[in-house]
Structures are given as structure tokens and as C-alpha cells.
Amino acid sequence: MHPILADRGRLALYLAAWAPVGGLIAAALALPDRRAAGEAIGLALPLALSGAFLCLAVWPLCRSLPLGATDPARLVATHAAGATVTCVLWLLVGAAAAGLMERLPAFAGAAVRYRRDIPMLLLAGALVFVLAALAHYLMIAFERSRAAERAALELQVLARDAQLRALKAQVNPHFLFNSLNSISALTSVDPARAREMCVLLGDFLRGGLRVGEREQIPLSEELALAQSYLAVEQVRFGPRLRVETEVEPQARGCLVPPLLLQPLLENALNHGIAHCLSGGAVRLGARVCAGQLELQLANPCSADRPRGRGTGMGLANVRARLAALHPGDARVDLQERDGVFRVDVHLPAVGAEAAAAETASAEAATAVAATAVTPTTTAPAGGEPTREDPRDA
């Protein structure tokens, strides 16, 4: 539907703008010796009204023939044909009006006088058609630039939203508070490790900031980030946390949304390991199978852990991001069996061909990260011998 027809106010304004055009037509028709003023007005009124609506019909034509993207010859030819049809229709309206008026004795001979003025009206009609086409092209260009602006803004908001959510997930306040508390403990017990922990925390936060801005990153980078997160948590959990990773070299180059693993790892630790008295192993696997990247995260879980506190949010985030990126092509499956909680993520293996080139450097990078995660036993503070410390036993 034409934007002018779609809005009553706009239509009224448009028709009002045609009133002077109607006056002009009437004036031209009433030129000396042509016809009486009454007859001129009687003709000008239907001509102006039909002209106004016929000009709106130029809109679909302009839309189907965008300037710059259409062959100029075709553009001119189509518009010429359009102008011809429009002008003929317009003149027929005028002829009908003249025919009707002639039935009244006062306007006898109106049809003959009208036929005499057809060349002049044809010229005027062609001119108005060209003007209408130009006006419509201007309007389309204006609307398009506004739509593009709005789309760009919307996209920006969405991207910012995703980044913010990822960051929020990353800097889980409790993760930060617990890490700071660990550092607070280490400063006197083991200053060197306190410093190391600061570096690990810094690495993780910086890494998250860096990748958060990108839409997709290679899995190798995501794994390096996951390793730095686990390295920080390792200090807190101590020997209760073990990490086992098994990643196919082919999978490393596949693209994933940044911080995809983050909420899953947080769940594995906070709802899995944290509720097991003696802890356990978090197993992280990645492989490429039949064009699909398969990520798997498994952790032990306690059957009587408190349920339904905050697990859903992180998972919903993962699902939403994958659905936006690969509509209908990605899925997240959850399974709890025999005290093991498993998350399986399947998504199209995009960018796997670049894996070969990246494998070498990625392996070097994760090798460094892996050494950082290797459990290091914390030396307990020099407590008094009367105190019970299970780690000493």
C-alpha cells in the first residue's frame, strides 16, 4: 500500500496540495475564448482529483525500477509506457466529464471544446507524470536510508546486548568475590601464588573482554578462555576439582559464539562439583562429526543437590545465542544419569577447513593454559597442631 494512502492525515494533506494544481488546470482551461469559467471548473475538478490518484500509481513502478540498479533504456521505456497509460486514463476521465456536462444545455459543445484541448492536457499530464516519478524516487531514497539507519541501530543494540550478557555471565559476582577471598587468603600464606592468581584472574577477564566483542571465535580461543576460568577456580576448589579435556585437532578451528562454554562450565562447577563432598572431574570434549561440531561437557552431580536455582539462565542464554546464529541447525541436550550430568551441544562445523592452519599455534597456546590448570596442591597455612585439617591427614 502506498504510504500516502495508508495514512488518512497524509492523504488529506496530499489532496490539499493538489488544490492549487486543480486551480491551475481550471485557469488554463478558461483562457480567453476557450470556455466559460463554470465549464472550466467543472472539468478541472475531476481532472485534478483523478490526477492526484493516478500520480500515486507511479509508486509501484518506481519501486520495481530502482534508480541505478535498472538498465537506463528499460527505465525510460517502462516509464514512457507508464506515462502513456496514465495520461490516456486521465484524458478518458476528462472526456467522460465533458460528455456528462454536454447533456446540460448550458454546456452544449463541451465535448468538442474538450477534444480541442487534448494536446495541451497531454503535455501537462506527461509533465506531471515526470514530476511524480521524481518525487517518488526521492521519497523511496529517503525511506530507504531511514530503514537502513534503523536496522543498523537495531543490530547494534542486539550485538551490545549479547556482549553485555556474555560479560555479565563472565563476571559472575560470586566468582569474583570468591576469587578475591582466595587471593586474600594467599597473600599471607603464599604470596607468590597470590600474585599468580591475580595474573590468572586478569588473563581471564581480559580474554573475555577481547572475545566478547566478536560474533564468533575459533574453538581454540574459546577453550583457552575456558582453561583460564578453570585455572582460577582450581585455586578455590583445590584437589576437589579435576579437569580432563579431549579435543580433536579438527575441532579447534570451528567457529563458536564467544563465551559459549562459560555458563556451562559455571553450572558444572557450581551445581555439580561444589555439591560433591569429594569433588570430581569435569570432562570437556570436542569433535567434528558429519559436518557437525559436537561439544560435550560432563560433570559428577549429587542426587540430593538443591535444584532449580539459576541453572536455567545460563542454558537459556546458550540456546538463544545458538538459535540466533544457526536457526534450526543447532541443539543443546541435557542428560543426567548415574550421578553424571552431561550437556551435549551440536552446531554446524563452520570454519573447520581453517583448522589445519591454526592447529599448530592453537596447540601451543592451550599447552600453556593446560599447565596452568594442572592441580597444584595448596600448602595449608601453618595452623596450630590442635586444629583439624583434613588435608593434613
Binding site: 563432598l277 532449580g308 595448596t378
Partner: protein
């Protein structure tokens, strides 16, 4: 002037480093004696029985039993300072008359203030035992996910969905789950208020039923019915109980 009688304290935290911070800060207070360190709630309950401490420095997020569940199971009055990274439990903490609520990481000065509070509290037993308060403290809109029952030295954790029925028995409630019966000191009205009302219904003055277990209803007398559970158990249903049951079904 130091108090002649030292404050006997127990540290409960599943993280070694978190215990280390407390241990270190407490070393600066000669009137505080750490009598035990516990890595989980079970140990904490045992330590409180064994050492009869004055003060419990208690983490909230721990495996198996959280800090509030530990309080429910304590058999003696003890001053409690919660030490946690989570600020959302603060209201609940004061509902159970905790002496103070320390947020990790905390300063030595902040711990000093909490200890000063604790010293005032020690020797003046609480009007309501903390175990009773802890059972009632629940976040609004959140239903009990599991029941904690102490049976001598043993602690049973019963997930809410595993409960078949609960029967009032004087000052106790008898919880039936997994084909076993557990006794807990609590009133039926109290536990009724804590359980998810879309799953648990008071079918009788002295019975709460998990509606997932209901197989059928049979008429008993003119005014009452009998609920037959999936395992064949028969429970009485009063007229008011029947109305509540129908509303839910």
C-alpha cells in the same frame, strides 16, 4: 582486658583458602580459640555435638548441607556468624538470629566487629532455638526442595519429590519416603507452609499427601473418604481435605 573464658569457635567452610583466611584473622584474637575446622555440614554437626562451641563461623554454600540446613540440625544453642560470598541470604540469616553476616572478602576489622557482637550474645541463650528458626527461614516464593532429618548421628537428606506423605505425631512429624519413616521435630502446619502447595496437600488434620502418589479415592463414611496410594497405603481424607484435594486436581 581479655575475657577470662575464651570464645570457643568452629570454622565451617568447604574451601581450604576460605578457612585459612578465618584462621589467620582469628589468630589475632587471643580470646578466641578455634576448636575445630570442618569442610562440610556433616562434620559441622558432629563438631558442635563433640566440642559444644560458643561460636560457629558458617559458610552457606556447601556440598550436601547448606549453612541453614546445618543450623536446623544443631542440638544446642550456638552463636552463628555467616561467612559467605552471597549477599542474597542476608535477610534469611537475620531471620534465624545470626549474630552477623560477613561478606567475602572481608577485612580483619569487620571480623573484629562480628566477634564483639558474638561475645555479647554468648551466655544469653536465644529465646527460640536457631534450629527452629532455620526450618522456617525460606526465601519468599521458594518452596522447600529437600528435607533434612537427623537420626542420631545420621543425617538424611530427603528430596521433596521423594516424600510420599507426612503424618503429625504430637510435636513431631513422621515423613514417609523411599519406603522408610523419618521423625523430625516440627509441626505439621509449619511444614505445610514450606512445601510447594501445588504438589502437597493437607488431606486431613494430621496428614499431608504428595498428590503424585495418589492412585484413587474411595468412600469411607458419609463424610470422609480414603486415599489409596500407588503402593497400596490407605490414608484418611477429611471433608475439608477432600475439597482441597479436588481444587488441586
Amino acid at each position: 582486658m581479655p575475657d577470662p573464658r575464651p570464645l570457643r569457635a568452629v570454622i565451617v567452610d568447604d574451601e581450604e583458602l576460605a578457612r585459612a583466611v578465618l584462621r589467620e584473622h582469628l589468630a589475632a584474637h587471643p580470646d578466641v580459640q578455634v576448636v575445630a575446622e570442618c569442610v562440610n555440614g556433616f562434620e559441622a554437626i558432629k563438631a558442635v555435638s563433640a566440642h559444644a562451641p560458643d561460636l560457629l563461623l558458617l559458610d552457606i554454600q556447601m556440598p550436601k548441607l547448606d549453612g541453614f540446613e546445618v543450623l536446623q540440625l544443631l542440638d544446642r544453642d550456638v552463636a552463628v556468624i555467616f561467612v559467605t560470598a552471597y549477599d542474597e541470604h542476608a535477610l534469611r540469616a537475620f531471620a534465624v538470629h545470626a549474630v552477623d553476616y560477613l561478606l567475602k572478602p572481608f577485612s580483619a576489622q569487620r571480623l573484629g566487629e562480628a566477634l564483639a557482637q558474638a561475645r555479647q550474645r554468648v551466655g544469653r541463650p536465644a529465646a527460640v532455638p536457631p534450629s527452629r528458626l532455620a526450618a522456617a527461614a525460606r526465601r519468599p516464593g521458594e518452596w522447600l526442595a529437600r528435607l533434612i532429618v537427623r537420626d542420631g548421628a545420621q543425617v538424611h537428606v530427603i528430596p521433596a519429590e521423594a516424600i510420599d506423605s507426612i503424618q503429625a505425631q504430637d510435636d513431631y512429624i513422621c515423613i514417609r519416603a523411599h519406603g522408610r519413616r523419618h521423625l523430625k521435630q516440627q509441626t505439621l502446619a509449619e511444614i505445610e507452609g514450606q512445601l510447594d502447595p501445588s504438589r502437597f496437600v493437607r488431606i486431613h488434620r494430621s496428614w499431608i499427601l504428595n498428590i503424585d502418589r495418589l492412585a484413587r479415592l474411595e468412600p469411607a463414611t458419609r463424610d470422609s473418604r480414603t486415599a489409596v496410594l500407588r503402593d497400596g497405603t490407605q490414608l484418611p481424607v477429611s471433608r475439608a481435605g477432600h475439597a482441597r484435594l479436588m481444587e488441586l486436581l
